[in-house]
Symmetry: C2
Subunit: 595 residues, 2 copies
């Protein structure tokens, strides 16, 4: 989280404001209610006993902490008293049940007392990190430091146990998160020991062969040029590494972050910005191994990629980081939330085949395919509260100010106020490519020209720098980004997509649904010479697209027959990928055949 | 096994004779050696004790029994003394260690004494069935009835425990096999109680809700019109059901067999005759769910489909049963054996992508994809000895004689002698479509016109009946089946194959391999207007095919870019699918893009 960027920005309307309003009115309360139903809130009373149901899970602290962080942002921006009461109530319990030495963890206090810091894979430091992030956010939002002080005390205990005494049974956490949280603690408090502790966990990773789990990014960060293992863990780690590299101006770490970014963005990322293609360990596999129907692409992973990209922009202004950030935000992350704001996807495949669901099960009889409709809560319910906080952090992705230069990374109806510098942005983006900036006090305006945009006009002279159009002494500036539907093909190494393309328009990836296009979406072909009609759909607050197309037909029901080609012309309707599965259970497909 | 068909036929040369010679010279001994190495042979000494390694597995009896059955056929045809000594040695041990009441099972005698017939899923009756099949085969081959008597005694015990006393802890076996074995026992001995016992196990299946395992064909046979569950179990069951229907002339059971055949052949069978598309329970999934790379298509399943089709031909002469039998034999079953005769595939995918291997693992870290090279033995090594016996049973698939009518189901260099009826077949099939029959004593010759053949010539007048050309008073008959390479497309519900086709020639399905065609076989397009050159390849004893084609090219390494089409012309080389993976580790693909 870049606090400067966050504090200087206000989103005033448009598409992203709509998502934030939904979060504030519906989603933040929906998650609270489900967390109450499932015992997650009650668990903070520390009164679970053996034999009772709703036994606290090792990651429940983190679920609620992410919700608290989201609530803190809302309180900071909107002053929501009811939310504040809930957060204060939780802080009361945290303060009450924190151990005298600073330790705080529900599971290891009520379920397994005596076993603290013995199991690397039990998410203790992960929970600690999320609590720290929530504490920093709440301190920033309200100025109240009670929660922050609890977490400083806990961080100090962690430093003692892991660095000074080395009395823990492991050296680095199995699930990264505390690293980036400690860097936020450092930035919030100025206490350098938190920077050092973050550095310790980052530098020690992978240095201890006994601590290597195949499915985790368990390699020495300074020697690692490829991304592996669990996708959220890897991205949380590199979010922290980028922040550490920035704070310490460490060129080696910056290079490694660039390597990792390149490996993700050029070889291991879905067109939606989804990452982590296998459910087996929720992680990255081989390069170009990006199956569509069996995609995992966890909502949290797209969010974590956004965080990493944001921190890369802190290191250097290069439009490619913002391109990937935007891709993951508008597609892979937002698809996680239903249009009514109450339900969530954990996994986000690029193809859904209703008929094939529920038939693929693993040896323990669990489905091995994504669900077809969003759910209100999961057993492992990390994604819903992650969306609560993520949606409130979008302000931090829009602008940067460096000296008198203003960088515009993303386009949204918003204002920027930084000292004497003021920018007001007017736009219907992503539903239009026209963006108007009214500027005061800026010497240069750096406007990102998105990778998806091949033609653009700017109402003033400009030069180009690292993917940004640079306008000197800007006042009233209009940028027109040509935003027309395009067929995007994939690298030939994505073998399932050969001969197919995804329809994209601006930052949005589109898909077809059965409810609009009938059965067997794979039999549909989009015309190579697109004849597209765009229209605004209020139900999605976004454009839908109609194109010419064809449906392949067959002579009879034979399973195998001499190859033949016959087609009938059809109209195809595409909706934004992030909006699929909001109109009942139906098939969905991103990559369409091209004819 | 149709003994009349088997005994009246001799395969005298050509492609199938080559496979049998390989089995007799190499494979039968290779499997014996690996079964010796792994303790399977030694287990018959019943001297394993707790703490020793190579603990007998619950299915080891069946592995060795299948090998014995294969050896018995070879002994019967070739009088192999060394093989006979090995089989006699095993029979000595079986006789010695059979319990006084007739019980015989290694695992439940040495590892879990006292627990016999308590666990439906522990393959006791499955092992018993395979031992019975071996005993019948050895009796038929040698006239020696020692083994058969042991197994009759065991069958009588099973009747007592399961039917008379009902003292077993289950009613029907978890893995079918004993049903078809008892019907063979009935045919060999004339003892009707074995028919009744087979009928009992068939009729009771699915009638007891407590015995329903989702992954098993656990439904009442008389009410079941769709095939589900474990593919080998289902096909062994319906092989028995078809035999029972034939023996008892039960029209309802015949209808159910037709339903099951249609569901398999029209909706759930790979083009190779492979069946059972998921590794999760080695079984059938939804109709048209036939993934290529993740295909399971166990070798034993293709073999079991052949057995089922053969028994359907016993019920009624319809060329479609022989079409599917031939498809499964020449492709899905034979692919299980390496060209050197020593190594085996268990799973038979229709696509192999070396780069993607070893990255897809399940939650217990086991690969969830087929291996790329055949292995000499498996922990679960059912397929190798199943090939030992299956290859020796091919005689039984070629002809039927009914009164003075001769049916030719498959084409192979062979003779048929049945009373006064004699047919000699000369052909280079499947490497040529020309087949010559010299006939004596037949009133009608029914020659199957394969489903793959659209043009044919016969040197005498004929009529058509159920897919067979009927020639009256045949003497010297030449049939010319047009056998040219064709592109075979699939039903549009096989969505991965839309826009693709498999090259087929006669009964053989072809594939491309990386070793011939370079990297990324998915980027290759076969020309829609085939320009094919056929040439005989001695290494495969089969034809290989070269065609015109194209390779899709890309401008750069971008992961996502505006959709474009560019191609370069290439020559494509296809080899029979059954011959893939004999020239080192390389990619393989059946369904090619068509341009």
């Amino acid at each position: 989280m870049n606090y400067q960027a966050y504090k200087q920005t206000e989103i005033t309307g448009g598409f992203l404001a709509g998502k934030q309003n939904l979060n504030r009115k519906i989603t933040i309360n929906a998650v609270w209610n489900r967390f109450s139903d499932t015992g997650r809130i009650k668990a903070f009373s520390f009164d679970w006993k053996e034999g009772m149901d709703r036994k606290p899970h090792i990651f429940w602290d983190s679920d609620v902490a992410k919700w608290m962080e989201g609530a803190a942002y809302i309180i900071g921006k909107n002053g929501d008293k009811k939310l504040e009461e809930k957060v204060e109530g939780l802080i009361d319990l945290i303060e009450k049940h924190q151990q005298p030495d600073g330790y705080f963890n529900i599971y290891y206090t009520v379920c397994e007392p005596g076993n603290r810091f013995t199991d690397r894979n039990c998410h203790e430091l992960y929970c600690a990190g999320h609590l720290m992030e929530a504490a920093v956010a709440y301190y920033d939002a309200t100025g109240k430091d009670r929660f922050l002080k609890c977490m400083m005390k806990y961080a100090d205990l962690i430093e003692k146990v892991f660095v000074k005494e080395k009395s823990a049974k492991f050296i680095t956490p199995g699930h990264e998160e505390i690293e980036l949280a400690l860097l936020r603690m450092y930035r919030a408090t100025g206490e350098k020991r938190y920077l050092e502790l973050a550095k310790f966990f980052i530098e020690e990773r992978g240095m201890h062969p006994e601590e290597r789990i195949p499915a985790v990014q368990d390699y020495p960060v300074r020697r690692q040029k490829e991304v592996t293992g669990h996708s959220v863990r890897a991205m949380y780690l590199y979010t922290a590494v980028a922040a550490l590299a920035k704070e310490t101006d460490d060129e080696e770490l910056k290079s490694r972050c660039r390597d990792i970014f390149e490996d993700v963005a050029h070889r291991k990322m879905y067109i939606t910005g989804g990452i982590g293609s296998t459910r087996m360990y929720e992680g990255f596999t081989a390069k170009y191994d990006l199956p569509n129907r069996m995609a995992y692409a966890e909502t949290c992973a797209a969010i974590s990629l956004v965080f990493f990209c944001r921190n890369m922009l802190d290191i250097e202004k290069n439009s490619e980081y913002a391109d990937v950030l935007e891709r993951a935000l508008y597609n892979g992350a937002l698809v996680g939330l239903s249009s009514d704001g109450k339900a969530f996807f954990y996994e986000n495949p690029l193809e859904l085949n209703i008929r094939k669901l529920n038939r693929l099960i693993d040896s323990s009889r669990k489905p091995i395919q994504a669900i077809s409709q969003r759910k209100e809560v999961f057993d492992c319910s990390c994604c819903p509260p992650n969306l609560n906080r993520f949606l409130e952090e979008t302000e931090s992705f829009l602008y940067d100010v460096e000296e008198k230069n203003v960088y515009v990374h993303l386009f949204a109806e918003s204002t920027l106020q930084n000292g004497d510098i003021f920018v007001e942005t007017k736009t219907e983006y992503p539903n239009s490519g026209t963006v108007h900036f009214s500027c005061r006090g800026a010497e240069k305006l750096f406007v990102r020209i998105p990778g998806w945009c091949k033609q653009f006009k700017i109402s003033a002279p400009y030069t180009m720098d690292s993917g940004y159009a640079v306008i000197e002494n800007p006042v009233e500036i209009t940028v027109e980004l040509e935003m027309k539907p395009k067929l995007i093909g994939t690298n030939l190494n994505l073998q399932n997509n050969i001969g197919r393309a995804a329809l994209c328009c601006g930052p949005l990836v589109y898909c077809t649904e059965g409810v609009d296009n009938g059965e067997n979406l794979h039999a549909l072909y989009v015309g190579r010479d697109l004849d597209a009609t765009i229209s605004y759909a209020p139900e999605f607050d976004a454009n839908v697209i109609e194109t010419n197309g064809f449906r392949r037909t067959q002579a009879d029901d034979a399973l195998y027959a001499e190859y033949a080609e016959s087609f009938e012309p059809v109209k195809l309707k595409f909706i934004p990928y992030a909006c699929f599965a909001n109109r009942g259970e139906t098939d969905m497909l991103v990559y369409m055949h091209v004819k």
